[in-house]
């Protein structure tokens, strides 16, 4: 690289960093104060883009940008007042579920309002051309962005340090209970923070339209970038977010400049994993007080009541008899349900009793699935053997990744699991020789005696029911108690001789193994396996299932998986805007049953 191109790539990095910072800053603010992991933050950004493009045609670009930001900020306020306010006290991660539902709804709303075609916005009037910098051309508009990022940083800094509002925000970020005790009007504070965060997201989106068309895929791209930046920077730290945005944007620009463009697929996740392993609280994050709202109190485990036990036995019997009376498809669907039930239960195993948050559980599902495919196709093992051995690969993966993950807690832990999952995903995506690359592996079919839908259903029923029962057993075993002991009071647990980390590590590995069983079964049920099996959406699906069912019981995950799989299937078939339909259904459940479906079952039993 010549000096000129180094300089220009550096400027490119700065411009990208500014864009990234705007979204990340809002997300960080919101998380810092409300502890809500706002999954819909990318959707707010997307709305900012659409509004800005739409408004540009009417009032001109420069008016459209602040207007779009304000509209999105206002929408954010409505979301906070109408939805989030109701569920702050619900169990941890429930807000994640609610904002995930919002993401689905906003995506379909944008499709409905603006249509399917990407909308390329106008160039910024007055800054449409390029300037010459050291022999290369550089867009004028990008220079504006380069200035704007630090300006917003300074503005936020002043807002947070020089105003009373800022003081309250900082107090709430550092110690929520304390701020509450100081008589801070939390409701108003939360609303205003959420609105400001949304406004920043909308501003980020609106400012992006001269560089990128408004399109329906941007929400997910942006949210994952923003999460990474917020976590690398340190949760709740605005300067940290700025630093992280700079770091990641520069690393990306130079990956491209130096000819390693393929690395951009995961490089931010590699950076995040490295940062978290070295600095468990991100670059500038501080030891935050562990949020223990009322929702964080864990209820005691209850043994299965005789009535529930009988109901489960009846359900099992019904499942066993089902193939006699089905049209074949029910078996296919139920096979999916069983597999996802096991997947969700395995996620619950670490989420519930250990409170190890994982946003990357799909990694182990995917490892199991790929191992099954590779053992079967490449190593030419018999299907039965491939199926039996594949989960070990997932368990091994969990053993390795888990060692790092259990060293962190809360969202940091979650993001490290996500980073590892993305790294595994990109390996599957790019390792053509072994994994078939982006197309994946095809021709992964069960042995002849298991090939019929009925037999495969029985196989899945046997394997999943057994594995779930064993997980249940494990939760109620001394090991499960040790796990919950470490969750309830790490201090006491350690003083009683319990190695909390080792226990969590073992749990993580067991969960990985169980997810691997689900993955291997999945591979043979579909006949093929592709990188999606370990993508972020699959991890999110797992979380959604667990939260729908209720975080407090393992069996809840099973109901959650059944409901979510059925919802997806039924909605996609019967409703045009099926994503929004799923989103609305989730919201209804979140509001009516904040503790999950399991509460329904328990009330009856």
């Amino acid at each position: 690289m010549s000096f000129s191109s180094v300089l220009i790539q550096f400027l490119n990095g700065l411009a990208s960093a500014s864009s990234l910072f705007l979204v990340a800053a809002g997300l960080s603010l919101i998380f810092g104060v409300t502890r809500v992991v706002n999954f819909a933050h990318g959707s707010l950004y997307m709305l900012g883009m659409y509004f800005a493009v739409w408004l540009s045609e009417r009032v001109g670009f420069w008016t459209a940008v602040p207007l779009a930001a304000a509209v999105v900020g206002f929408l954010g306020l409505l979301i906070e007042l109408g939805l989030l306010r109701r569920i702050y006290k619900a169990p941890e991660l429930l807000q994640l579920l609610a904002t995930f539902a919002l993401l689905l709804i906003i995506k379909d709303a944008a499709l409905w309002a603006w249509g399917a075609e990407d909308l390329l916005g106008p160039r910024a009037p007055g800054l449409a051309a390029a300037v010459e910098i050291s022999g290369g051309a550089f867009p004028q508009y990008d220079l504006l962005l380069i200035v704007l990022g630090p300006l917003v940083l300074v503005f936020l800094h002043l807002l947070l340090t020089q105003t009373r509002w800022g003081l309250l925000v900082r107090a709430a970020t550092e110690d929520r209970e304390m701020a509450g005790a100081l008589g801070v009007n939390q409701r108003w504070l939360f609303s205003s923070v959420f609105a400001l965060g949304a406004l920043l997201a909308g501003l980020g989106g609106a400012l992006q339209i001269p560089r990128e068309p408004a399109n329906l895929n941007v929400d997910l791209t942006v949210i994952s970038d923003a999460f990474v930046i917020v976590v690398v920077g340190g949760l709740g730290s605005i300067p940290g977010a700025f630093l992280a945005a700079l770091l990641i944007a520069q690393v990306k620009a130079f990956c491209i400049g130096l000819g390693f463009s393929k690395a951009t697929l995961v490089v931010e996740f590699i950076v995040m994993a490295a940062v978290l392993v070295i600095r468990p609280r991100g670059l500038l994050g501080r030891e935050a007080t562990i949020p223990r709202g009322p929702g964080a109190e864990e209820p005691p485990l209850r043994p299965l009541s005789p009535l529930l036990l009988r109901a489960l036995a009846a359900l099992l019997a019904a499942l066993v008899l089902l193939p006699l009376a089905s049209d074949g498809y029910v078996l296919v669907l139920l096979t999916d349900v069983l597999i996802f039930a096991l997947f969700a239960a395995s996620l619950h195993f670490i989420l519930g009793p250990a409170r190890l948050h994982s946003f990357g559980h799909a990694a182990y599902f995917g490892l199991g699935a790929y191992a099954a495919g590779i053992l079967y196709l490449q190593a030419k093992l018999p299907m039965e053997l491939a199926l039996a051995l594949a989960p070990l690969a997932a368990g091994l993966g969990a053993l390795v990744f888990g060692w790092f993950c259990v060293r962190l807690s809360g969202v940091y832990c979650a993001m490290l699991t996500l980073a590892f999952a993305q790294i595994a995903w990109s390996a599957a995506f790019q390792w053509d020789g072994l994994t078939g690359g982006s197309n994946g592996l095809v021709g992964v079919w069960p042995a002849a005696w298991l090939a019929s839908k009925t037999m495969y259903f029985y196989l899945s029923l046997l394997a999943c029911a057994l594995a779930i029962a064993l997980l249940w057993r494990a939760v109620h075993s001394p090991f499960g108690y040790a796990l919950r002991a470490g969750r309830d009071s790490p201090l006491r647990a350690e003083a009683l001789g319990i190695d909390v980390r080792a226990t969590q590590w073992a749990a993580f590995s067991i969960a990985g193994l169980a997810a691997g069983i689900a993955g291997a079964l999945y591979a043979f049920s579909k006949g093929s396996i592709s990188p999606e099996a370990m993508g972020i959406p699959r991890s999110v699906d797992g979380l959604v299932m667990v939260m729908l069912g209720g975080i407090h019981t393992l069996t809840g995950s099973v109901w959650g998986a059944a409901l979510f799989t059925w919802l997806q299937d039924a909605a996609a078939r019967n409703v045009d805007y099926w994503r929004a339909a799923i989103g609305v259904s989730i919201l209804v459940i979140v509001i009516l049953l904040p503790r999950g479906l399991a509460t329904l079952v328990q009330k009856r039993a």
Binding site: P299, A474, P478, F479, R484, D488, A493, A495, L496, G497
Partner: protein, 253 residues
């Protein structure tokens, strides 16, 4: 026989000298009280002994074995049980389950993934419950208990491992006067009968002077006096730096 021997212990937090050059020892069967005003460094001493914190310098020996640098769980395995000033129990479990976990941990049986909480520990747990007088509350989740009851549960959990050294950080906080005496009597009996060394902190002077064999007085991290309750009560220095007035008479907490 000396169970715990602490020599020249130092610990600072930033500029705050929490523990400065503290040396003392506790013998088997002895009840040693560690007293001092708020922020004197009592809890920090406990945290250093039990491995929660690492000392800046100094040595801690448990029956000749060096404890410095070991994590709490290992120190526990060497026979140190403790209670916390701010109680720490497993809120999602019942009182009995809390004790069962403690018992199973002591028996190194917490690794089992398939068995259920054993019947045997059930009985042992009830035995402990009886000692602390909480049989009636066995099934209640710890999250629902009153503060004084939690203190009791903590004591029982610490005892589950049959420790050689018991550290009790304000064991009677949140209890009525009669309960305090009862609890300390229990601790004293245990110390005498099972030859446990007991180190405890306490703000209630009546409890201290009535039950302690010896008293250590800590002020701003430094040991300013030690001796029998009578000696400490008589010490002018203690009166001056610790309380500043004549509040060391029994009955004035």
């Amino acid at each position: 026989m000396t169970v715990l021997q602490v020599r020249n212990l130092h610990k600072s937090f930033g500029g705050v000298r929490a523990v400065a050059d503290v040396s003392f020892s506790v013998a088997a069967g002895e009840l040693l009280a560690l007293i001092g005003p708020n922020g004197a460094g009592k809890t920090t001493c406990f945290n250093l002994v039990n491995g929660q914190l690492a000392p800046d310098s100094g040595s801690i020996d448990l029956q000749g074995k060096n404890l410095v640098g070991k994590p709490p769980r290992e120190i526990y395995r060497n026979g140190v049980g403790r209670t916390f000033q701010l109680t720490a129990t497993f809120g999602s479990m019942s009182v009995r389950e809390n004790l069962q976990v403690a018992l199973l941990s002591h028996a190194r049986k917490l690794g089992s993934v398939v068995s259920s909480l054993e019947q045997q520990t059930h009985a042992e747990a009830d035995n402990l419950l009886q000692q602390i007088g909480m049989q009636a509350q066995a099934e209640r989740p710890c999250a629902e208990l009153a503060y004084g009851d939690l203190k009791r549960v903590e004591l029982a959990m610490a005892l589950a491992s049959q420790p050689r050294l018991l550290l009790m950080d304000e064991p009677t906080a949140g209890m009525a006067a009669a309960e305090r005496t009862e609890l300390m009597q229990l601790a004293a009996d245990l110390a005498r009968n099972s030859r446990i060394a007991v180190l405890f902190t306490e703000h209630d002077m009546e409890v201290v002077f009535r039950h302690a064999d010896r008293v250590l007085v800590l002020c701003e991290g430094a040991l300013i006096a030690q001796g029998t309750p009578a000696e400490v009560r008589a010490s002018a220095l203690v009166r001056q730096v610790y309380l500043g007035d004549a509040d060391l008479e029994p009955g004035h907490a």
